[in-house]
């Protein structure tokens, strides 16, 4: 029993329950204004209303579509370019300065120019998420390629591997831990960028519902969406960790 109470899951539940309880206690104070700090029951009520009306699902669908597509495009480009830059000196000299120069710019800074060029379209939002995912993943893929231990490369070469075989059978697997770590950070970046993009310019999505909640003073809806975003990002990260554990079964550091 004691072991269960001090277990990882139990403590995790405890910490979340504590925060919820504190919030609840704050909302039942006599001088609390429920339109500023909505009670938990109101937040649940907003959840039920939006589920029954279907608007939560369509918002969630729109957002997930952007995330998945943007993540896929961004990380795929990041993988290809990162491999080239990290492995081939010529590509490094050509492209690396460019990446380094662009890297400090937050992706959100591109919003105005993207809107001017492409309008407030689905394409613009996916593009923005792609850029965010690309920047994060490319840097990690390059780091992974640069950290391939030389002894593995030498061993493969002396065993008769040509340059392409070394790349395929040594560099890529050796860089996998870095690549996957980069993908996880890219996923987090995708959520950040998504919400920001939808807050500014979107006719649908979770960010749009946040904005709607602000406009019509629906704090319960705002709170509800925040929880939904947190839960989605958490679930996706968990899925990613499961994939990571599978791919990294050989590694000393599997977490």
């Amino acid at each position: 029993m004691m072991r269960f109470l001090t277990g990882r899951l139990a403590l995790g539940v405890l910490s979340i329950a504590t925060v919820l309880l504190a919030y609840h206690l704050a909302t039942i104070q006599p001088d609390n204004n429920p339109s500023l700090l909505p009670p938990i029951t109101d937040i649940i009520g907003s959840f039920i209303t939006n589920v029954t009306s279907g608007s939560l699902f369509s918002a969630l669908g729109a957002s997930l579509f952007r995330i998945v597509l943007g993540f896929f495009i961004g990380t795929t480009c990041g993988l290809v370019i990162g491999c080239l830059v990290g492995w081939y000196k010529i590509a490094e000299y050509l492209i690396d300065p460019l990446i380094e120069a662009v890297r400090p710019i937050p992706p959100l800074a591109y919003i105005p120019i993207i809107i001017i060029w492409f309008g407030i379209e689905e394409f613009s939002r996916v593009l923005l998420i792609s850029i965010a995912c690309f920047m994060v993943s490319v840097v990690n893929v390059i780091a992974g390629m640069k950290n391939v231990p030389q002894v593995y490369v030498d061993a493969a070469s002396t065993l008769g591997a040509n340059r392409l075989q070394v790349f395929r059978t040594v560099a890529v697997p050796a860089a996998t831990p870095f690549i996957i770590a980069g993908y996880r950070i890219a996923l987090a970046a995708a959520w950040t960028t998504l919400v920001a993009a939808e807050l500014i310019a979107a006719p649908s999505g979770l960010g749009f519902m946040l904005q709607e909640g602000r406009r019509y003073f629906l704090t319960d809806q705002v709170m509800m969406i925040i929880v939904i975003i947190g839960s989605c990002a958490f679930i996706m990260d968990r899925l990613f960790r499961a994939i990571q554990a599978r791919l990294m079964v050989w590694s000393e550091a599997r977490e």
Binding site: P149, V151, Y152, D154, A155, A156, S157, T158, L159, G160, A161, Q165, T169, V170, P173, A174, T176, V249, W250, S251, E252
Partner: protein, 251 residues
């Protein structure tokens, strides 16, 4: 049959820079086919540099090396190398590591399986085929390294202090097992070490190098009978060679 000839070999690191370092200078050597030769010397004598050039990791500044009269240049599967560090690929199981070389050249699944079986047994890793390298001890990983090179069927094995990181008991086991494998295959071995006893126990010939710049100081023919047993390490003949070589290494 493969025979390595090293002819007037000199290598300078950072040639043309402000402070070039001559690692080895004027090395002339012949490694007879099927022989087991060791190169010993204190650290900095260029023994590893010499071996790495034989493997094709880099080219000498002067002189040349031939294997079977063919000039050594770049990598070749004919010259296999066992590294000082752990070079087992952690993302492949033991069996996949062993058959890595043949797989590169498009060996069929059946061929790979045959090679895996043969060499996993030969290096004493039966039962560990499907394990990940992280699950093995340092000595066992070294066995994978050696098995992988043998499975690639080179003419020459270049070994760069392969047992340097192992504990004394494991080291002696590995030495005996290496000799058994060598005896069965009779491939030429060039073995670099700083351990005098290891060199005597294993070799037909020991090349002693002096440092800065690395030159050949002495060549010792080891007349101890084969097969060699661990008890030999304590015989008078063995210890006499050890004393002589010990005096030659700079302490």
């Amino acid at each position: 049959m493969p025979e390595i000839v090293v002819d007037g070999l000199t290598h300078t690191f950072g040639a043309g820079s402000e402070n070039p370092v001559t690692a080895v200078e004027g090395i002339d050597l012949t490694f007879e086919s099927g022989s087991f030769c060791s190169i010993i010397g204190t650290s900095g004598c260029g023994k590893s540099t010499l071996l790495k050039m034989m493997a094709g990791l880099f080219e000498p500044s002067e002189g040349r090396m031939t294997l079977d009269r063919e000039i050594i240049k770049g990598f070749s599967k004919r010259r296999g190398m066992v590294f000082q560090q752990d070079a087992v690929f952690p993302w492949m199981t033991v069996a996949r590591n062993i058959s890595y070389g043949p797989r590169l050249r498009g060996a069929s699944r059946a061929e790979q399986a045959g090679i895996e079986k043969k060499w996993i047994e030969a290096v004493g890793l039966k039962g560990f085929e499907d394990r990940w390298p992280r699950e093995l001890s340092g000595g066992m990983r070294k066995r994978v390294d050696i098995g992988r090179v043998y499975a690639n069927d080179p003419d020459v094995l270049l070994m760069d202090e392969p047992f340097g990181a192992l504990d004394a008991q494991t080291k002696e086991r590995m030495q005996s097992d290496l000799l058994r494998t060598w005896n069965e295959t009779r491939k030429t071995v060039v073995f670099v070490t700083h351990d005098i006893e290891e060199a005597i126990f294993l070799s037909d010939r020991i090349i002693v190098m002096s440092a800065r710049p690395g030159r050949i100081r002495h060549i010792e023919e080891v007349a101890l009978p084969r097969p060699r047993a661990d008890e030999m390490r304590l015989t008078e003949e063995f210890l006499e060679i050890k004393r002589r070589l010990w005096g030659m290494l700079e302490h």
